[in-house]
């Protein structure tokens, strides 16, 4: 027996599935399952994070409800996956953030944005806050660059530290030998699998929604969101290099690299999350982990807010709205950063680690 009810159920299902194996060709979960005859907590958390929740194994299963064997792998693994985020969270004292994650994320986002608004208002003259600023250094008239850089570096580095510690605990739990290292080839394979969302495909036809007709565009919207996020991150990184290496201060002209990257990324971060949210609304209720609805929507909303405020800032940066918008955008990004280790963001990190492990297992399989 396992530590939790959901792991007991996952164990029961994997025993059923391992004696059937019809779903072997659908994704990585079932081949990984077949390499085992018994399942530890770590094994089940590994399988849970390998699952991309496409739903194909549910509609293909002859034993799904109302059958008495009651096999619902996507939902069971979704719950197990969400519980694994809390189980591996660092520091453990903050794992409770996953319990009512939607609330936690909204509160932090609201507080963060409010703090920037009030901070800007308190530290700046009204005429500066609502003034029209143009040319290099315009943003820094509202908040000195060094202060901005310091604040966001601290938030970002903390997020990285917490993520590394969490995924380390996960890796130790799913690895054999314990603490074994990942090899380069497996990492490259996992980057490829994650980059193309190889297993979010319903066995090749797309994901499943309200019925047995695969029509979901989740893969497309996830790509827009993920690559939008990466482009925005790249925009910020390029801008940082411009600032420190070239001495060129933001805002940059519309044709310059940080703006082009940021604008493209921003579009992805607006369109992608909307698509993901709609897909969520249309998702088959029997496959969803309703308990984690807040966590999923909270994360989607954070990404959307980041994209939206960023785009508005870009469009209106030469108007009097720039000051308040900058505060909102910085507030959204700050909230996103500090909640990274305690929200849905971690799904990408754990899933990537699971994909590395899977690539490794495939390479060493007899």
């Amino acid at each position: 027996m396992h530590g939790t009810r959901i792991l007991d159920e996952a164990d029961r299902l994997m025993t059923v599935c391992n004696s059937c194996r019809y779903c072997e060709g659908l994704c990585a979960v079932f081949p990984a399952m077949e390499m085992r005859r018994a399942f530890s907590d770590g094994d089940l958390n590994y399988l849970a994070n390998l699952c991309h929740s496409c739903g194909a194994c549910y509609v293909d299963c002859q034993f799904s409800p109302p059958h008495e064997f009651n096999v619902n792998v996507p939902k069971t693994l979704a719950v197990a996956r969400a519980e694994s985020y809390a189980a591996y969270a660092w520091p453990q004292a903050l794992s409770g953030a996953f319990a009512r994650n939607g609330l936690v994320i909204s509160l932090i986002a609201a507080l963060s944005m409010a703090a920037f608004i009030f901070g800007f208002a308190a530290l700046n003259d009204r005429s500066v806050l609502f003034g029209v600023h143009t040319g290099p250094g315009a943003f820094y008239r509202l908040m000195p660059h060094n202060a901005m850089a310091a604040l966001f570096s601290v938030a970002f580095l903390y997020a990285i530290l917490a993520l590394v510690m969490s995924v380390r605990a996960f890796w130790r739990d799913i690895g054999t030998p314990i603490g074994g290292r990942a090899d380069g080839g497996s990492i490259v394979q996992a980057i490829r699998d994650a980059g193309e969302l190889r297993y979010l495909h319903g066995g090749g036809v797309g994901c499943y929604n309200e019925d047995d007709k695969p029509t979901d565009r989740r893969k497309l919207y996830h790509h827009l969101t993920f690559y939008g996020f990466l482009l925005c991150f790249a925009a910020t990184s390029v801008a940082t290099l411009y600032h420190y290496l070239l001495g060129r201060e933001a805002p940059y002209p519309w044709w310059d690299l940080p703006v082009v990257l940021g604008a493209l990324g921003g579009i992805g971060l607006i369109v992608g999350p909307i698509g993901l949210f709609v897909a969520k609304l249309r998702g088959a209720p029997e496959l969803l982990d309703e308990q984690r609805y807040g966590m999923d929507v909270g994360f989607i909303a954070m990404l959307f807010l980041t994209g939206l405020t960023g785009m508005l800032l870009l469009i209106l940066r030469e108007t009097a709205a720039m000051g308040p918008l900058l505060a909102l955008h910085l507030g959204a990004v700050f909230a996103l950063f500090i909640t990274i280790p305690y929200g849905k963001f971690v799904h990408g990190i754990y899933r990537f680690a699971a994909l590395v492990r899977y690539a490794q297992e495939r390479r060493t399989a007899p």
């Binding site: 059937c20 194996r21 293909d60 002859q62 066995g203």
Partner: protein
Amino acid sequence: MSPTSSHRADGMSSKYDVLVIGGGNAALCAAIAARRGGASVLVLEGAPKFYRGGNTRHTRNMRCAHDAATEILTGPYTEEEFWEDLLRVTGGQTDEVLARHMIRESKDILNWIVEQGVRWQPSLGGTLSLGRTNSFFLGGGRAMLNALYLTAERLGVDVEYDAEVIDLVIEDGMFLAARLKRPIKGETEIRATSLVAAAGGFEANIEWLKQYWGDAADNFLIRGTPYNRGSILKMLLDKGVQEVGDPTQCHAVAIDARAPKFDGGIITRHDSVVFGIVVNKHAQRFYDEGEDIWPKRYAIWGRLVAAQPDQIAYIIFDSTVVTSFMPTLFPPIAGQTVAELAGKLELDPAALEKTVTEFNAAVRPGTFDHTILDDCRTEGITPPKTHWARRIETPPYLAYPVRPGITFTYLGTRVTREARMLMADGKPSANMFAAGEIMAGNVLGKGYAAGMGMTIGSVFGRIAGREAARHAKN
């Protein structure tokens, strides 16, 4: 799509070109082929939507002839080889003309079924011996069904679930109408120009099974849904369609005695017979456990167990072979001694000890290899174990209780090469066709080879649909 006005004979009640009764592989192949042939088609599935498809929902592959390796098949499987395999498993009890026709048509099915949305994958883990001959459905039989239903609905085939047919109106070998238990769109009678009966065998009808098996049938477990009651087969035979096949013949395997009475499907089966011995309730061995290699050996144990007292048997093995076969749904029952194991199985401990001891003493040295007919065998006991015989001596001692698991029955309606039913007087029916398990007995007099049921379903389903549409359009 509703039947168009041109298909309404009297303007009052609807009439379809083709009525398909049944909802599995054969039925859907017939419906799709008929629709593609230009007919209006209604499918009546007696089961609720979740349980649609009869035994197809539990299948995973199909045996088709092919002259060259494909993306998912490792080598050629010629028509002649297929025919020889069929001849061997049926012991010659097959209709050669019909069987050869089916085998020839099966070659085209490999592509046709993909055009209907079904996707193939290489043979599943643990079934490598089928990698050359059998094509596996990606996601299994229910995935295959989902694809066929999706295609049928996109083409405009009407499908009704929970649509139980309680009577067929047949005059002089001519189908006129089907009567429904529950009205569909206000009508309890569906008329059609052609009928395709693809409603399976009677494996879930215990009362009917008892006519041939007696009370033993009470101990049978049914691997598919409780909806496979054979009511359409019975109506057809009662109304003058010629019967084919031995009513006691069926596909039956040994499945775990702890399985549910119905619909346990694939996961309750046991492939471990060759790794141990099989005893009956008196703790006596009764058949050579090492006779033949998987999957050929697989389909004989259902009937063997059915012939034992109380239709129960026990596969006995020891801890050294636990990882030699696929993990099982139900864990093995374990004992530190043979006597303790016997106690848990409610067998006579002394008798089981004697059986195991005698078996162990009879085992000759050899080199074990479960992938070939190896040289590990017994000497001096009856029945012998002719291959893979190794001593059972390393505790814990383990056992699986098994019962006959009935997959499908072979009694059916006789058909022609066009899948047209023959009447008892030998005349072909004007407008009645049959496909799938309901006519499998034409090809399978007895025995079985993996994937054959689906071949019969798809090949004759497609033929029946095509011919039914042709009749309706003429």
